[in-house]
């Protein structure tokens, strides 16, 4: 995948849609590309998050809980961002993210991401929006889980 294609892929990520062209190209250039084989972990619960990933190819499962309690809560595909919460909020990873098939992702360091946020106010808004949506989804999932148990 060339730089132009990667820039286009980043542009398709809602988080980056308002970032200036030049900055996005530079981001695509500076971010390292990383491959994961099926079953390899991209994030593990409790680890400190030093970087986020943007999925370029393949998909990944988001899992929470241990042992019997372990549940899949989401499946992420291309153009979706993985692990940005730990980076933005300075908290340990909140879930396991495991590659479902061959995954190609852009690895974006914490420093780089925070700088982009500072440069692009719309990006912060997008982060808020996606966090709110996720909160809503989590709450619904929780209610559903309670209903099943109850």
């Amino acid at each position: 995948m060339s730089l132009d294609q990667e820039t286009a892929a980043l542009r398709a990520v809602p988080l980056f849609q308002h970032v200036r062209d030049k900055s996005l190209q530079l981001l695509a250039f500076l971010a390292e590309r990383e491959r994961f084989r099926p079953g390899e972990a991209m994030c593990l619960t409790g680890e400190l998050g030093e970087h986020a990933y943007v999925l370029l190819e393949g998909s990944a499962n988001v899992l929470v809980g241990d042992g019997d309690e372990r549940r899949q809560v989401a499946v992420l595909g291309p153009h979706q961002v993985v692990g940005e919460i730990a980076v933005l909020c300075d908290v340990p990873r909140t879930a396991d993210v495991i590659a479902a098939d061959e995954v190609l992702a852009l690895r974006i360091s914490k420093e780089l991401l925070l700088q982009m946020l500072a440069e692009t106010p719309e990006m912060a808004l997008e982060v808020m929006r996606s966090l709110a949506i996720r909160l809503h989804e989590t709450t619904q999932a929780l209610q559903a889980a309670r209903a099943v148990k109850g």
Binding site: L3, R33, F36, R107, L112, Q115
Partner: protein, 899 residues
């Protein structure tokens, strides 16, 4: 504590040096007198004199010979007097520097020895300001404390004497105004002293504030309070300005008065001297000589006044420093018995009160037990844990170990029996081993003697400097003469025989605590010199063979091996075309401006055109990206193809190369080549490598090895070492050497797998300890910030366990019921079975084996427990019986509350 006044300090620590300086100074006076006397002789006797030839020491001298003799003498006197000046200056310098070193050492040393908690009376900014900036001028001054007044005062006297010898009346006239000056100047100086004191106080506040600004920059920025802080700073600077303005105004005023008074003197000379000449009571030659001598007078007089000003300024400064430094109390010099650890025995405490925590009962804890501190506020639990480790004195009651109060033990004695782990443990700069063996630094090493306090011949001999002899120099300034790079470790405390066994113990503890990985991994990232570590490098080469043999089983997914006929996409092009690695990773091997050999080889080599082409294309592909980015944008920090601020220069090089390559400058060519040489294909996704280019790059290898490498491989100072399966490469890390390949940049998250694989193999081959030892030698990131917080805590625990403490306090780790915390406690019981664990618990008491439970939640909770079967914390029956047992032990003390 340094003496109260500067004079006392100088006398206490440099008496012999000052005496020597005065003696040498005294030597210079006769010479000074002679330099006045000889010219008179030359004119009056040699030039205008009569009666030649003259007899001189049995020789008969003609007038010219006599003149030459006197002039030669005059010249020799100048040489002698200047040589003396040189010796004097060096002596003063040595003395000043030593006193400065001593002062700084004393002041910082006192802070380090302060009683627990007293160090909070000082701020870091202030300590730095005082020891670095404020002391500096004092250091320069103390060397000439006596030398200047003796020298200048003496010179002044010599000149007076000379004038008096010409005419007593003139002599009187020349000193007439000195008493006036001697009265007025100190009067004016007093205001200077007051202002100086205010300025010093203000400077300390200023440095405090600057330090706080830097510490709190995050908070000020977050709350948008930067402007407010800057306004405060501005006010402080204005205060500084006002004080300095008043100071220099006053100083110039003093100068003005002084100049005025000294200009009045020639008036006396001309009137009085003229009158004396006219009335025939004085020779005109004598008057001219006296006026010349008077002119000379002004120099030493000015020096003396300057000395007086500096003296009063610095004395005030010194006094203010010592006064500030008297705050807080030093840990008393250890009285008899305090320096030895207490005899074996239980930890006993209570009833006691510390901070918000009150323990009503008396507890006796046997070695190997666990004390769970539960209930109450987190701060109260923490305070009690600290107190049971002797780190916080109780406000009432006491804690004893082996019958001795923990609070009475000296720092060194306590450090031998107690360990305390608090949140955010501290790790100083240095190697990991230094950070971990902190608990074993031998406090028994004594400070060596102080030369300044020794017999006089030693003190005089010390006035020379031997730059090689750091120990003697340390003694001359009363410093500690321990070698900081090879600290003496108390191996007996760790119960090990030698340094190797200590490493083994560190590794064993690390394994028990689950932190062996960071040690081993930094060992794998270390570099060794294969010549000096011959056996290790051989063992590593054997491991390399084993690893490559089993290579097919998954390694290649994470490592790209070096193959002579293939491009390695995870390595920079420079390594690819040379098929070699730089010997010194720090050296800018690809910088063609300095590496002329490489430059010469590239010139005309077939690969040069390919590299230039690649360099130009890289610049063309990236230059546009950099446009419009602010020069200080952190986005640019990750950009390393070429300096982002020189993008225009590189762009024009690339343009020139495309349009008129023959006109590309020599440095432009080097820049293009440099960009290409450092380019790592996998790292930067620019589709630049066509099959033709790859072929050209790989083809270069055979020429390169023939040209520059074959001969240079074993030559010391050679820049590159060729990659060969049977050679250990000094420029590569241990890991890269083992793998004989590059870690795949796009498989970064899986690199840990490789480490695990190597670890397994290293254990099989018995070299794991040696690799771990390399890791221990590695310099750590400040505060181990690169590690996860829980790993930092484990390292702090490891450090404490190394000295086999009898009591180990855990304020934080092991506090919850999480699997990790419970495993930690179990682990500690196993690794340190004799150690008493004091654990601050946010959850209930530790489920099994909690021999003593201290509940801080107060009387209400205790009643509950005694009454009904269920306590509010929901603890099990076993725990309750345990806590009741501990309560039962309180019988003798009666369980009364401590008031």
């Amino acid at each position: 504590m340094p003496p109260k006044t500067l004079l006392e300090f100088v006398l206490a620590y440099s008496r012999s040096a000052q005496a020597t300086i005065i003696a040498v100074t005294a030597l210079s006076f006769p010479i000074a007198y002679l330099t006045l006397e000889l010219p008179k002789q030359i004119i009056d006797d040699a030039i205008l004199g009569t009666g030649f030839p003259r007899a001189f020491w049995g020789f008969s001298l003609s007038q010219v010979d006599y003149l030459l003799l006197l002039c030669g003498g005059f010249f020799s006197l100048f040489i002698l007097s200047n040589a003396l000046k040189y010796v004097l200056n060096v002596l003063r310098g040595i003395t000043g520097e030593r006193l400065l070193r001593r002062m700084r050492y004393m002041l910082v040393g006192r802070i380090m020895r302060l009683k627990q908690g007293d160090e909070r009376k000082y701020s870091a900014g202030e300590v730095v300001q005082i020891t670095v900036a404020e002391l500096q001028p004092i250091g320069g001054f103390v060397g000439e404390y006596f030398a200047v007044p003796v020298m200048q005062g003496g010179t002044l006297l010599v000149y007076f004497l000379f004038i008096f010898m010409q005419d007593p009346l003139l002599g009187l006239a020349s000193v007439a105004l000195f008493p006036v000056q001697a009265y007025i100047i100190p009067l004016m100086q007093r205001r200077v002293i007051r202002l100086t004191q205010a300025r010093i106080a203000n400077a300390r506040l200023l440095s405090d504030q600057v330090a706080e600004n830097v510490d709190g920059i995050e908070a000020f920025r977050r709350h948008g309070a930067l402007d407010w802080r800057m306004a405060q700073l501005s006010e402080r600077l204005f205060e500084n300005f006002k004080l300095r303005y008043q100071l220099f105004k006053q100083k110039f005023l003093i100068k003005f008065v002084n100049n005025l008074l000294s200009q009045v003197m020639p008036f006396f000379f001309y009137t009085l001297g003229g009158y004396l000449v006219i009335t025939g009571r004085l020779e005109i030659g004598a008057l001219v000589a006296a006026i010349a001598a008077y002119k000379e007078l002004s120099n030493p007089w000015r020096e003396l006044l300057k000395y007086y000003e500096t003296h009063s300024d610095l004395s005030v400064r010194y006094a203010s420093i010592v006064e500030r430094w008297s705050e807080g109390e030093e840990e008393p010099a250890s009285a008899a018995g305090q320096d030895t650890p207490p005899p074996p025995g239980p930890l006993a405490f209570g009833p006691l009160r510390v901070g918000d925590a009150a323990v009503t009962a008396a507890h006796t804890v046997q070695p190997g037990s666990v004390v769970s501190i539960i209930g109450g506020e987190a701060t109260a639990r923490g305070a009690l844990t600290r107190s049971l480790c002797g780190a916080q004195p109780p406000s009432a009651g006491r804690a004893t170990l082996g019958g001795r109060s923990l609070g009475d033990l000296s720092h060194p004695a306590r450090s031998r029996v107690v360990g305390l782990i608090e949140p955010q443990p501290f790790f100083p700069r240095g190697s990991l081993r230094d950070a971990l063996t902190l608990s074993l630094m031998d406090p028994k090493s004594v400070e060596p003697g102080d030369l300044e306090l020794g017999p006089w011949w030693e003190r005089v001999a010390a006035l020379t400097v031997d730059m090689q002899d750091a120990v003697r120099e340390a003694r001359a300034s009363g410093n500690f003469a321990l070698d900081p790079h090879a600290p003496k470790l108390d191996l007996a405390q760790a119960a090990v025989e030698d340094a190797g066994a200590l490493d083994r113990r560190i590794l064993d503890l690390a394994l028990a605590l689950g932190v062996e990985r960071p040690i081993f991994e930094s060992g794998l990232s270390a570099r060794i010199d294969p010549v000096r570590r011959l056996s290790l490098s051989r063992a590593l080469l054997d491991m390399r063979a084993a690893l490559t043999a089993e290579g097919a089983s998954g390694l290649e997914d994470v490592v790209e091996p070096w193959r002579p006929d293939e491009l390695n996409r995870n390595a920079p092009l420079i390594e690819n075309i040379l098929y070699a690695a730089a010997r010194d990773p720090e050296a800018p091997a690809a910088d063609l401006e300095t590496n002329r050999e490489l430059d010469a080889w590239l010139k005309g080599a077939p690969v040069e055109a390919t590299l230039l082409d690649i360099g130009a294309q890289l610049i063309e592909a990236t230059a546009d990206l950099l446009d419009g980015q602010a020069p200080d944008s952190p986005l640019l920090r990750g950009f390393d193809l070429y300096p982002a601020d020189k993008v225009d220069l590189y762009r024009s090089d690339a343009l020139r190369f495309r349009s008129a390559p023959q006109r590309l400058s020599r440095s432009g060519r080097r820049r293009l080549l440099g960009v290409a040489l450092l380019f790592t294909p996998r790292r930067r996704r620019l589709n630049i490598l066509t099959p033709e280019r790859i072929e050209a790059l790989v083809a270069a290898r055979s020429q390169a090895s023939a040209l520059i490498l074959a001969a240079a491989y074993d030559a010391p100072g050679a820049d590159f070492a060729p990659i060969r399966a049977d050679r250990y490469l000094p420029g590569l890390t241990v890991r890269e050497n083992l793998l004989l390949g590059k870690l795949r940049l796009d498989r970064r998250d899986q690199w840990g797998r490789i480490n695990a694989r190597i670890w397994r193999l290293a254990k099989e081959r018995g070299v794991e300890l040696e690799i771990a030892a390399l890791g221990l030698d590695t310099a750590i990131e400040p505060g181990l910030r690169n590690l996860q917080p829980d790993q930092r805590e484990r390292f702090a625990i490891l450090r404490a366990l190394l000295s086999r403490p009898r009591v180990l306090g855990l304020d934080g780790p092991g506090g919850s019921d999480s699997p990790a915390d419970l495993a930690l406690i179990q682990n500690l019981r196993r690794t340190a079975p004799e150690t008493i664990l004091v654990v601050t618990r946010s959850a209930g008491p530790i489920e099994s084996g909690a021999d003593v439970v201290v509940d801080l939640s107060g009387a209400a909770r205790a009643t509950d427990r005694d009454g009904a079967g269920v306590s509010p914390s929901g603890s099990t029956r076993a725990e309750q019986s345990a806590s009741m047992r501990s309560e039962a032990e309180s019988q003798p003390a009666g369980g009364a509350d401590v008031a």
